[in-house]
């Protein structure tokens, strides 16, 4: 009798749970591994208040540069070795500075107090994201 009431080490539903977690983790990793569209050029877009203030091409050859951003927070964006990030910012939390450097299409750094966003985009997905062409 006693042996029957001893709790099992692993229940069936636990196996389900473990498999589910493993599955989700694997899928997440797979999605991350799908290479972003590498054809064409990569651009970093720095926007303040939702307006793109600076749009620059980034590649491994570009020289190191520091870009001051006019957003009232003396934010300085640094760019080197194909990566871009916020070097300094007079915001309280400094979260944006600690986000480090980014370089992959689709990633972004946000500083909420300074209303500033840096995002890496493809050639086509600039401020003309949903449009097919530009006439000028």
């Amino acid at each position: 009798m006693k042996t029957d009431t001893t709790p099992k080490l692993i229940y069936k539903r636990d196996i389900f749970g473990i498999i589910l977690v493993l599955f989700v983790v694997t899928i997440c990793m797979l999605i991350r591994m799908i290479p972003a569209d590498t054809s064409g050029k990569k651009f970093a877009e720095i926007s303040v208040d939702g307006n793109v203030a600076i749009r620059m091409e980034i590649n491994d050859e570009t020289e190191r540069s520091e870009i001051p951003i006019d957003n009232g927070y003396d934010t300085v964006v640094v760019y080197e070795n194909g990566e871009i990030g916020i070097q300094s910012c007079k915001c309280k939390e400094q979260i944006c500075v600690h986000m480090g450097r980014i370089s992959n299409v689709g990633t972004s750094i946000v500083c909420l107090p300074a209303r500033t966003v840096i995002s890496i985009v493809n050639e086509d997905s600039s401020n003309t994201a949903s449009t097919d062409a530009v006439t000028y």
Binding site: F23, I34, Y136
Partner: protein
């Protein structure tokens, strides 16, 4: 037991959600893109077709673009236009294409009292705005050049091109990109591409319906690098924009842009900052947008009334946007005011 079923249902749901996500990431119908330099600008193509035929078509188009330059370039010494302007021997050359372009442009010229014409080489060469060392010409030189810029001074009768005066030359700078679009459409038809978007500099060809979705085109702001608005085009159209902001020379604080009013030989100064024309011919769109930019908004309406299937979007110098015969939707950026139909 019921717990097990719930778990299974949950798992299936998760798998479904993730599959949908994967599909979104995986099935990207981005089309086949290529670009290059030609016709004095950057061109870019996006073909909605399978990769093999796209590759073949792109190679064919790249080759053809060199041919267009051979026809229309004012600087390439082997181009037919250069030879015509230099009065060199052109026997054996096929002049049909050039005559078609001249005749189309002359139609526009006649509607604006010759203030726009492709017979303007004397003046554009004199100003040479895009040259290495541009200087502002003297008034006398400008007037002399203007006298040589009249559509009537070139005859295209009997399949021949004759210049009726010495010093009269052709300049297809205003319609070269539109002509390239006109030629490309033939290749796209030939190769049975269903949908494509093509741009030569700021001249755009929308080909097909993008699978029924239609095309969205931005108009660049004439005042900075942002956009002025976005409009929709449902099917095949040629879109051309003219403005004085793209090519100009600066001297003593004044800017002199590259579009000249042949009335006085000076850079045009209408109430317009830019004009976008949408029609069913590339050369016509290019010629009309240039002519409209020169004559201003009110006069433009008289020109455009003479053509079927032609629409226009005007951006005035005080940032107002007007439409002409425009049926699509227009989305204006906040710094501009959309005033609707003229």
């Amino acid at each position: 037991m019921s717990v097990g079923i719930k778990k299974i249902t949950k798992t299936i749901c998760m798998i479904l959600v993730i599959s949908v996500l994967l599909l979104l990431f995986g099935c990207d119908t981005q089309g086949y893109k290529f670009s290059g330099f030609g016709m004095d600008c950057v061109y870019s193509f996006k073909l909605y077709s399978n990769e093999d035929s796209s590759l073949k078509v792109s190679n064919r188009i790249k080759k053809e673009i060199e041919n267009y330059e051979k026809l229309l370039s004012a600087f390439d010494t082997s181009s037919i236009t250069y030879k015509l302007n230099a009065r060199a021997d052109i026997s054996g050359e096929d002049l049909g294409e050039i005559i078609n372009i001249i005749n189309t442009c002359n139609k526009v010229s006649s509607l604006c009292s010759d203030r726009y014409s492709v017979v303007c080489g004397a003046l554009t060469r004199l100003w040479n705005v895009t040259g290495d060392n541009p200087v502002i010409p003297s008034n006398i030189d400008i007037l002399k050049a203007v006298a040589l810029c009249k559509s009537g001074l070139v005859s295209t009768e009997n399949g021949n091109i004759r210049f009726l005066k010495d010093g009269v030359t052709l300049d297809f700078g205003s319609v070269g990109k539109g002509y390239a679009c006109d030629k490309v459409i033939q290749i796209l038809k030939d190769e049975q591409i269903s949908d494509a978007i093509v741009s030569f500099g700021g001249s755009v060809l929308t080909y097909g319906t993008k699978g029924g979705e239609g095309w969205k085109i931005d108009i660049r702001s004439p005042f900075d690098n942002s956009k002025a608005g976005t409009f929709n085009v449902d099917n095949t159209s040629f879109i051309s924009t003219s403005g004085g902001y793209e090519r100009f020379l600066e001297k003593d604080g004044n800017t002199y842009h590259h579009i000249f009013d042949l009335k006085d030989g000076m850079p045009s100064s209408s109430d317009l900052a830019s004009v976008t024309v949408i029609s069913d011919s590339g050369v016509l769109s290019d010629a009309l947008s240039t002519a409209c930019f020169i004559v201003g908004m009110n006069e433009s309406v008289k020109i455009l009334d003479s053509f079927d299937n032609t629409s226009a979007i005007f951006i005035t110098k005080d940032k107002q946007i007007y439409a002409y015969n425009f049926s699509g939707s227009f989305e204006t950026q906040s710094s501009f005011i959309f005033k609707g139909e003229i």
